[in-house]
């Protein structure tokens, strides 16, 4: 009996090994570099309709398959894409774009101005519930149409003729051509979209795109496959043949796949490098870092004691040793932040507004604050809670800062953490004292960061802080047509923000990744997103 069982078992094992070998035998290697890129985007995208997308996962795919009026080039400047030229009126309120003659959809249909009009109005239509529609609010009548107070017909975007698009803005917006490179401004094939409102839910004949690649396969929650789009006007510049995205959530597995040559890239902006691997990769020189437009900061609830006192806030902000945090904890080449706007927009912010780890100044501010509050000593301060969303990195940083405040200022702070959705809910409803947050820029202009704090009731403010001078500077800057003057206004506004400190900036984000050595020319913008149009394998 035993012998028979053993024989049977051995046969079964042998069979499975044989079958396994069968399944694995197709990795034929060729001499010439294969132009097939394999990436991991971690999860199923929220939506592959450019008007609905609101996340970086979707953006990673959409930036390769669609194209807007402009595209951000290798130097971070907008270059003509679907629009071969454009004119701006004297008052900078009207843009006229000329769409290329040879701009086509992947099914051969020409790209028309109507495609843009349809797409923008579709995103603004409240019935479609686009969560990123507010990106279009720069256009006249857009906000009214989206909130139901106005009509879609009154939105300032018009197809003058088949290849001419006229856009009317609310204010002179010098960064408008940056915005038109953002996915909410992409066109869709209006003919197909009108016939088949579900065109964007699957790959297929109706999913047509106008960018360097077309989507040939979409296996939900599993993988997406792109192929070079031969009808693209600049197809000669595209060297990759295929791109395959897998959706592996686990950073450890992605790392193993990268090492086992099953992926060509591990890290931002597509997925993440697991934190335990960063040090080793940095030491071996394999790790690549690039500053991106993002700031990690702590928000103060300025309506809660003692954070309503500006000196206490200054004391807490000055007493943080940012250099140690980025060197010991995050270790990704991040830059200590002593300003709100990242250096990719204001290069002088690498220096910032105050000294990092300025314990002297912190103590002086603490004393002033205690005097104003009528307290003798830091131990008499009401308890302060520092909250963050549950995450290993945030926890480590919070613990370090808790320790810094205790040893430098004698202030005791308790830590608290919640799951992301619970945490963000508390923050938005003001149920916190000090809360951790980050902000990543959507477009390359400082106002993106400053306008967060313009209105006390603003959806992303959370600090309950408002300053009329700050507000006025931002509003005036929207109407200023002279670039130098406008920049100065924004700098002045930031100075106010850094003087009143409703937030304590900690560090500026970087993208951290590893990639195969022979992969070239993947362009990562200052905002941290990637374009594969020019990429190739050597």
């Amino acid at each position: 009996m035993k012998k028979r069982m053993l024989v049977l078992l051995t046969l079964v094992l042998a069979l499975s090994a044989f079958l396994a070998a069968c399944g694995n035998g197709d990795s034929g290697s060729s001499e010439e570099a294969k132009q097939d890129l394999r990436l991991n985007i971690r999860s199923e995208p929220f939506s592959l309709n450019p008007g609905l997308a609101n996340d970086s996962t979707s953006s990673n795919v959409l930036l390769q398959t669609f194209e807007g009026l402009t595209r951000i080039d290798k130097d971070g400047e907008p270059e003509e894409a679907m629009a071969e030229s454009f004119d701006v009126s004297e008052d900078q309120l009207t843009y006229t774009f000329k769409i290329r003659e040879d701009a086509n959809w992947s099914n051969g249909d020409p790209v028309t101005a109507e495609d843009f009009v349809y797409a923008w109005k579709w995103a603004l239509d409240p019935a479609n519930q686009s969560q990123y529609a507010y990106q279009l609010y720069y256009v006249k009548g857009a906000e009214e149409a989206n909130t139901g107070e106005g009509k879609l017909d009154d939105v300032g975007v018009k197809a003058v003729d088949e290849k001419t698009l006229e856009v009317t803005l609310n204010n002179p917006t010098p960064y408008f051509t940056q915005l038109t490179a953002f996915y909410t401004y992409f066109p869709v094939n209006s003919k197909i979209a009108q016939e088949n409102p579900d065109w964007y839910k699957d790959a297929g004949d109706d999913y047509v795109t106008n960018g360097p690649f077309k989507m040939t396969e979409w296996n939900h929650s599993e993988s997406i496959k792109l192929e070079k789009n031969e009808t693209y006007w600049d197809a000669d510049a595209v060297k990759l043949a295929t791109v395959e995205y897998s959706m592996i959530d686990d950073a450890g597995t992605a790392r193993s796949m990268y090492e086992n040559d099953e992926l060509d890239w591990n890290g931002l902006p597509f997925d993440t490098v697991s934190t335990d691997a960063i040090k080793a990769l940095k030491d071996s020189g394999e790790l690549k870092t690039q500053a991106t437009a993002g700031t990690y900061w702590y928000k103060f609830n300025t309506e809660v004691e003692p954070l309503n006192n500006v000196h206490i806030r200054k004391a807490l902000t000055y007493a943080i040793d940012r250099k140690s945090i980025v060197e010991q904890i995050t270790q990704g080449g991040q830059i200590p932040a002593t300003a709100a706007v990242p250096p990719t927009m204001f290069p002088e912010n690498e220096e910032g507004y105050f000294k990092d780890n300025d314990v002297e100044a912190a103590k002086a501010e603490l004393q002033k604050g205690l005097d104003e509050l009528g307290l003798k000593d830091a131990s008499e301060l009401p308890t302060i809670t520092l909250s963050y969303n549950t995450d290993e990195a945030h926890a480590k940083i919070a613990q370090a800062i808790q320790d810094m405040w205790k040893s430098n200022l004698g202030i005791d702070v308790t830590l608290g953490n919640e799951e992301w959705a619970v945490y963000i809910d508390k923050l938005h409803s003001g149920d916190y004292q000090i809360g951790r947050m980050g902000w990543l820029g959507d477009f390359n202009d400082a106002i993106n960061f400053l306008e967060l704090y313009r209105d006390k009731e603003g959806g992303n403010n959370d600090t309950n802080w408002e300053n009329p001078e700050f507000k006025q500077l931002l509003i005036d800057s929207q109407k200023e047509t002279d670039t130098a003057k406008r920049q100065q206004m924004l700098k002045d506004a930031e100075a106010i923000l850094m003087d009143e400190l409703p937030i304590a900036p900690i560090y500026f984000y970087t993208n951290v990744w590893v990639q195969k050595d022979n992969l070239k020319d993947v362009v990562i913008s200052g905002l941290g997103d990637a374009q594969l149009k020019w990429a190739y394998f050597e």
């Binding site: 839910k201 939900h220 929650s221």
Partner: protein, 311 residues
């Protein structure tokens, strides 16, 4: 038999109703809603979204509408994945988890029962100890460690299998083994102890005395009775394995149903939470029913209708 089945099905429906109700209320208790995000939505848009998905209606209206939908097997749209409905998610994810689960169950049963029988027959000899050490390892080592270990040894070092993803047979071997590890060990122990108990019974002695071979005794007589605890374990086990394991699916990048169970809670994706919970409950209830029926088939002494022993 028919009366028995009818009664069971009625109880199943009742349980299902209770599960749906409890889940409905508990998930609404958590702070946050499907649209909470870092860049807070303009209030007008959020109001719109809530209106569209009926989140503004009073709770009993939402509850009633939801029950009506479930009866028609329509779980609604997913809040998080705009291109798919919950039915889509289940239809795509379940077959994947099912195939993986069946492979794992096959391995667990085959290897587990085998190990258990060998251990029982060679009680207190080296085969027994080896089998039980393997069993303890299988139960104690967490599944993600087992998964990472298998990936490291068999995929990266030996290059026999790919590290992750799904589609070919060779991609399914490592995850199936990782998934089967715990259940194999448990089944081995169960089989062993119940075999030992059965082997000490009088009728086995009679069989030996009659001169039957060891094989015949084991296969024809002992196993049938020893297998009963394993059968009861298989009920909830199959339901659990077949609907997907979150950890294994995450580590091997398998697009099964398991990840949706956990992610939907973080996403506050109400419809997905309800959908997968209802789906899982149905499978669980059906497996338990099947197991009970199987009992009656394996051991004629067990009367399903129960209660009227002396009839």
């Amino acid at each position: 038999m028919i009366k028995y089945l009818t009664r069971r099905v009625l109880f199943m429906l009742l349980s299902l109703l209770l599960i749906v109700t409890a889940t409905f209320f508990f998930m609404r208790l958590a702070p946050g809603n499907p649209f909470t995000s870092e860049k807070q939505l303009p209030p007008a848009i959020e109001a719109n979204l809530n209106e569209h998905y009926g989140l503004n209606d009073p709770w009993y209206v939402q509850y009633g509408e939801y029950l009506l939908r479930i009866v028609q097997w329509d779980f609604g749209p997913s809040f998080k994945y705009k291109s798919q409905t919950v039915n889509d998610l289940i239809n795509e994810g379940f077959p994947v988890s099912l195939v993986l689960g069946m492979e794992a169950i096959f391995i667990a049963l085959a290897v587990g029962v085998l190990l258990g029988i060998i251990a029982a027959l060679k009680h207190n000899k080296w085969q027994d100890y080896t089998a039980m050490i393997i069993a303890v390892l299988g139960i104690s080592v967490p599944s993600f460690i087992m998964a990472a270990f298998l990936q490291y040894v068999f995929a990266m070092k030996l290059g026999l299998f790919p590290v992750a993803r799904w589609g070919t047979f060779s991609q399914s071997v490592l995850p199936a083994i990782a998934l089967a590890a715990g259940p194999t060990a448990f089944i081995a122990r169960l089989t062993r102890s119940s075999m030992l108990e059965v082997l000490s019974n009088d009728y086995i002695k009679t069989a030996k005395a009659k001169g039957l071979s060891q094989t015949t005794i084991t296969v024809k007589h002992a196993i049938r009775n020893a297998i009963l605890p394993v059968v009861s374990y298989m009920g909830p086990l199959s339901a659990g394995i077949v609907t997907g394991s979150f950890v294994i699916e995450k580590i091997f990048g398998i697009p099964g149903l398991g990840s949706h169970f956990v992610k939907s809670i973080g996403n506050r994706d109400y419809t997905v939470i309800m959908g997968v919970t209802v789906f899982y409950s149905i499978i669980l209830l059906v497996s338990v029913l099947l197991v009970d029926i199987l009992y009656g088939l394996i051991d004629p002494r067990i009367k399903l209708a129960g209660g009227k022993k002396g009839e």
